[in-house]
Each structure stands twice: as C-alpha cells, then as structure tokens.
C-alpha cells in the first residue's frame, strides 16, 4: 500500500467502483447467500425451527415425494402459472399494440394501464377479495344470473379462477411496458413497405411485428412464468390456500409447514427442490424460446 509503484497500478481502476461494489457484495452475501446455504443445511435435519435437532440425511427429501399435499401444491402452482402466463402475455401484447398505435390520449392510457403494477399485490388481493365476496355476486344477481351469484373464492373447484383473474389484472401492466419497449424498436419503414405490398393488419403482425419482438416475448414468458411459480401474496389475501387446501401454492405450503407447522427442516427440503425446479424450468424455457427466435432471423 505504501510503495508508489503499487499505488500507480491500482490507481488505473477508479477506486469509486470498488466502493460501489464491495458493500453490495458483502450485504448480498450476508443477507442472501448465507441464509440459502443454512437453509440447505437444515433441509438435512429434523429441525422444527426452534429447540434441538438431529441430522437425518435425505429422509426429508424421500418423505417429500410421498406427501400428496406437497404434490398437489406443485400441481396447483404449475397449472396456475401456465394459465396465468398465457393470459398475461396475450392480454399484455394486445394492449401494447393498441397503446403503440396512433390513438388519442395515448399517454393517459399508458398511465392508466400502469397503475395496477404500482399497487401492492397484497392490497389488490384484499380489494378483489371484497369484490368477489360482495360486489360481483350483487352485480350478477341484478343481471338475473343467479347461477353466477355465489362467491367464486368459496368454491373449492373454481377458487383458482379468482386468483388467476386478480393476478392477470395486476401482472399484465409490467409486461405491457416491456412489449411497448419492444414495439418502439421496430422501424416504421417496414410497415410502409408492407402496406405498399398490400399486406393486411394481421399479416403485418404475424410477419413483421411478432418476429421482431421475439426477444421481448421470450423474456416476458420466462419472467412471468418464474414469478407465477412463486405465487404467494395474492393467495394469502384471497383464499389463504382454501377452501380446504385447494389453492395452496408451493410457497404457501413451505411457509405454513415451516413457520406454523413446526416442520422447518422438512419444508427447507421442499424449498431446495423448489429452487432447482424453478431454475430448470426457466432454463428450459429460455432454450426453447430462443431457438424459436433464431428460426425467424
């Protein structure tokens, strides 16, 4: 440190950047990496979250695959994620196309569509909870449709639909922003050329727009699927996993068993499996969708 030669070699990289990076790395390591590693360790124990524990090897993992409650939660979470991802991307792309065209009040519309994303999902969940319990039944009753006047969330078979509706309403906004950014990158010349060639609107979308925002489509699909696999807040606010256990997501089962059920070690094993499942699914999605992108280029 004291010799001038060493100092000159360090001086070439501005020290400011170290001050930016090192604290961030330390904090990330302490608050994220260490808990992950300790969680992985506890998945090999029978720790209840308090008191004493013993190492039990992989028996938590073996029990996990025999636990139908856990398997049901995987089924529910994947079903929910696939339906929500498709709906969110179709709706977001449609809205983005509309907002990207020359319409009046374009800026105002963009603002309005972005509002749901600003609100906390937990708050939205409680609001929709109220709507499903009171407003929608009243509206359908007034419209003379008594068959739809029940509370969707109180039905074990259809409560998931209510969760999907709430989630899509909130999540579409973020994907609209990404799609809009993608649509901005397409040059207007292409559309002019297509118009001269007499291509219809649908043909223009299929042959120009969609291929050119392929990368945005990929990232939207991967990001939304990953975040829907981690669904938690809106379920807590809407159904708390009910009626019964019909809408328990994986994250909810981990939280309940780990912090409420005194099975911390067992649910840590669930969390480790869950982590790898999300990594593998996202990786596969990227591979498949990027190959599709490449075929258009």
């Amino acid at each position: 440190m004291s010799s001038p030669r060493i100092r000159s070699s360090i001086a070439r990289t501005p020290r400011t950047f170290y001050w930016m990076v090192v604290p961030a790395v330390v904090i990330f390591f302490a608050l994220h990496t260490i808990p992950v590693l300790s969680g992985m360790f506890f998945s090999l124990t029978n720790y209840a979250g308090y008191g004493t524990w013993d190492l039990v090897g992989f028996s938590n993992y073996i029990n996990l695959f025999q636990d139908d409650r856990v398997l049901n939660s995987y089924g529910f979470t994947f079903g929910f994620s696939i339906v929500s991802t498709l709906l969110v991307n179709v709706i977001a792309l449609a809205i983005a196309l509309g907002l990207n065209s020359k319409i009046k009040f374009q800026a105002a519309f963009r603002g309005v569509f972005f509002i749901p994303y600003v609100l906390a999902i937990l708050i939205i969940g409680y609001v929709f909870n109220y709507l499903f319990a009171n407003s929608f039944p009243a509206i359908f009753t007034a419209l003379g449709l008594p068959g739809l006047s029940g509370n969707l969330l109180a039905s074990p078979d259809f409560a998931w639909v209510g969760i999907v509706i709430t989630t899509v309403w909130q999540a579409a906004a973020f994907n609209v922003i990404l799609y809009l950014a993608g649509l901005q990158t397409i040059s207007a010349d292409l559309y002019e050329a297509a118009a001269i060639d007499g291509a219809s609107g649908w043909r223009r979308f299929r042959s120009i727009t969609f291929p050119l925002i392929g990368a945005y489509f990929t990232i939207n699909m991967v990001l939304s699927f990953k975040s829907f696999l981690q669904v938690f807040d809106q379920i807590v606010a809407l159904t708390a996993g009910g009626p019964g256990t019909s809408t328990e997501s994986i994250a909810l089962v981990i939280f309940r068993g780990g912090f409420q059920g005194g099975e911390y070690g067992y649910q840590m094993a669930n969390a480790v499996v869950y982590l790898f499942v999300i990594i593998i699914v996202s990786f596969l999605q990227l591979r498949i969708l990027q190959r599709r992108e490449a075929s258009f280029s």
């Binding site: 904090i27 029978n46 008191g51 013993d54 139908d68 059920g261």
Partner: protein, 438 residues
C-alpha cells in the same frame, strides 16, 4: 472504534483506511440492526402479547406495574398471527422475556422444545386452580432437567359452547336445547320462521373447529389420542375413520343450517352480524363475546353447552387456557420478569381482566364471573365438568382447519376422515426428536 470526527485530519493513505473502516462499520451496523440500549439502570422487558383485542387491557396493566416498579420498563409487542410470529422469532433465536400465548398445540410443541423457563418454584404457581393447570400440563412440558416443569401459568380460561340470542329465542318460543334432537328441532323452528339459525363464517377456516372440538371431544373414546400416538399406523385399533364418523356427520348437519353466503363471510363479519341479531345462535365460545360487544354494547347474548348426545346430563364444556403467561428460558432479566409475572397473576389483575374480556379466572377460590353472557357455561366450569380442546392434540402440521372447511362446504365426511387419517400418519412418519421433549 473512534468516531471520524475526533480524528486529526489524516493524510491520504490514512484517510483511505479510515474510509474503508467507516464503510465496513456502516455495512456491519446495517446488517446487525443496531441493538444498543441507553446505559441506564432501567431494565427493559420485552413482552410478547398475542391477543390483539387485549392490547388496551395490557397497556393499562403495564402502566400500573411500571408505576409500582420504577426500575422496570415493559414494552408490549402485539402482532397479527402470533403463532407464526413467535416461531419466526424462535428461528432467529430471539425469545421474548415475558410472553402471553394461547395455550394450544403450538404452545405444547414449544414447551416440549424447552423454550420457556420453569415457573414451578414461583409462589404464585400455588394459587392456580389445579384442574386448569392440568389442562396446561397435558399439552406438554420441557423435561430436560427432570419432569414436573411448569412452563406456563394460566391467566385466563375460556369456554366453548353455543352463543345464542335470548330475545330471538323468546320471540320464537324456543327453549334452550339440552339434547341433540332439541337442538336440531330448534334450528328447524328458526328456519321455518325465516330466522337464520346459525351465522357461519367459513371464510376464516378456523371457525369450523369450535363446533368440531365439542362434538369430537364428547363423542370420541377415552384416551383416543394417546392410543393413536402410541400405535403403529399399520395395525391401528383406533383412527379418525373408525371413531369420528358420528362427530363429522353432526358437524355437517349443524352447518347445513348456515346462512346462504356462509363460505364468504369472515369472523369479524360474523361477530357484527350476531351482535345485530341476524341469527339466533352462533357457534363460537366465550372468547367471541368481547368482539361481539365491540360491535354492539347492548347485544343480547346467552350461552349453553353443546348438547351433543340425547343425554342431557352428559353435557360438558370444552375449556382451554385462553391466555397463558410464560418467561423466556434464557432471559437475562429473570428477576424482573418474575416480578412482572407475579404482578400479572395477582388476584386483582386476573379478576379485572376476566371481567373485561369475559373469561374465567383460573385462580383457586376465584369468585364466579357474573357476566350474564357466561351464565349458561359458568356452572359447568365451576363444577369442573370441562374437557380440553382436542385440536390441541393434533400437530400443527396437519391442516385440520382446512380439512374442516372443505368438510362443511362439501359435506363429504368420508373424504374428510380419510384425509385426516392420512395427514396424521404422514406427520407421524416425519415425527422428529424435538417432539419428544428431548
């Protein structure tokens, strides 16, 4: 570490080192969350208080206690979902100095894990009604340093019966039912007269369990849970499917008298509706009375024990310790914590609380609670005709309330009993050493 302001102005190299130390220190402080206290001789007790509706009562109690003991400051922490909150604190190894908890199955698991101090040497332990202390002890104790530890002192007992609206009963000419058939007949009468017999609140899944613990607790064979715990699931002589069919059937028939939107109404809505006289009966225990009165101070409330069978004399009241007091096992302020516990357990404080919160005093020789809403249950409590909550015998990892919620919505008793058996067996297979109170 010296603060940078008092340092002489350092030359470049030293300043860099100082900056590095400051950044490192700042990072560490940000991570550790600054746990410093003013170095005075006032001892601060961290008091975890689980009952949101009793925050006001405890604030007043603490104020009086601090006036008597100027050297002790008590900070009351109250959170929603206390059973989860206490476990997250325990995961972080932060046991509060003094706690109140609902003395349930969760408490039993924590007590067996030796989280709480032994209070058996405390003289106030002698003032407790032994029948009530037995209910506490039956849930589990820490047996690390020998048996007979007392890990919690009962502060308030509740009783679970059926609440009813005497005005509506009188208007419809219905007497308080003493047998199961009379109860069903009463419900039919109300329904025929266009009155909702029960107001049910299945949005909160737990609200299906008060009825179930009364039905199951009365109808199950003696020692059911001990046998179930000791037996090998492969050749069990008892099971929920064998022994709880009657209780599940009666649960379904009770809930078939609910109002139409029962699956989308929550506990708070139920308390308000019953306070406003929207139903003749309400399947909740004494603990709901303060919340009902909060909505309507003049609410007409009476109570009677569940008539589970056709034998009026066999009626019992399910009673649990609504509020128990514990001390953290390794608290650095044991003497001050004991002072606070002794103050809480003094007869004046317990009696005042039981009157304010419509609970029963768990102290020996306590005067009966004169609340008219409890008049139907009080004789049973005083005579010791009480049984514990059976859901406290079921591990928290079994989603009992969710299964009950499905049961009363679908009415499918066979699936419910089969699910309950399989969940019990799965958890038993994962049963861990910490449950044995090692």
């Amino acid at each position: 570490m010296k603060s940078p302001r008092t340092m002489p102005h350092p030359p470049g190299r030293r300043r860099r080192r100082a900056t590095a130390m400051v950044v490192a220190a700042a990072t560490l402080v940000a991570l550790s969350g600054c746990a410093t206290s003013a170095g005075t001789d006032v001892v601060t007790l961290n008091f975890f208080q689980f009952k949101p509706e009793a925050v006001g009562n405890f604030t007043a109690i603490i104020k009086d206690f601090e006036a008597e003991n100027p050297g002790i400051k008590v900070i009351q922490n109250s959170v929603p979902d206390p059973d989860t909150a206490i476990r997250t604190l325990l995961v972080k190894d932060k046991v509060p100095d003094v706690l109140t908890l609902n003395v349930n199955g969760n408490y039993g698991e924590l007590a067996r894990a030796c989280i709480f101090a032994d209070l058996s040497a405390d003289p106030v332990a002698e003032t407790v009604n032994p029948a009530v202390q037995d209910i506490v002890q039956s849930l589990g104790t820490c047996s690390a340093d020998g048996a007979d530890e007392v890990n919690a002192l009962p502060f308030a007992s509740n009783a679970s019966g059926i609440l009813y609206n005497p005005d509506i009963f009188a208007a419809n000419g219905v007497e308080v039912p003493t047998t199961w058939d009379e109860l069903i007949a009463a419900a039919d009468t109300f329904q025929a007269n266009g009155v909702s017999p029960f107001y049910c609140t299945l949005k909160d899944s737990w609200t299906a369990s008060p009825a179930f613990v009364n039905l199951g607790g009365t109808l199950m064979p003696d020692g059911f849970f001990d046998t179930l715990r000791d037996e090998d699931p492969a050749d069990a002589t008892v099971s929920f499917q064998k022994d709880f069919a009657d209780a599940a059937d009666k649960e379904v028939s009770l809930f078939s008298y609910c109002q139409d939107n029962f699956a989308s109404r929550d506990y708070n809505a139920g308390n308000k509706a019953f306070a406003d006289g929207e139903s003749a009966m309400y399947l909740q225990g004494s603990y709901a009375i303060p919340a009902i009165r909060a909505n309507n101070t003049d609410a007409a409330i009476g109570s009677f024990p569940y008539p589970v069978t056709d034998d009026a004399d066999s009626r019992v009241v399910v009673s649990g310790v609504d509020v128990g007091i514990m001390v953290g096992r390794n608290t650095p302020h044991a003497a001050e914590a004991q002072k606070f516990v002794d103050y809480l357990m003094s007869p004046e404080v317990v009696t005042a609380y039981s009157e304010a919160q419509s609970t029963f005093s768990p102290l020996k020789d306590a005067a009966p609670n004169n609340d008219p809403a409890l008049a139907g249950l009080e004789p049973y409590f005083s005579a010791g005709k009480i049984i514990g909550f059976i859901d406290h015998q079921i591990p928290a990892a079994v989603p009992l309330v969710n299964l009950l919620q499905t049961l009363v919505i679908t009415g499918d008793t066979e699936t419910f009993l089969a699910d309950l058996d399989s969940e019990w067996d799965k958890v038993a297979a994962r049963t861990t050493t910490q449950r044995q109170g090692k």
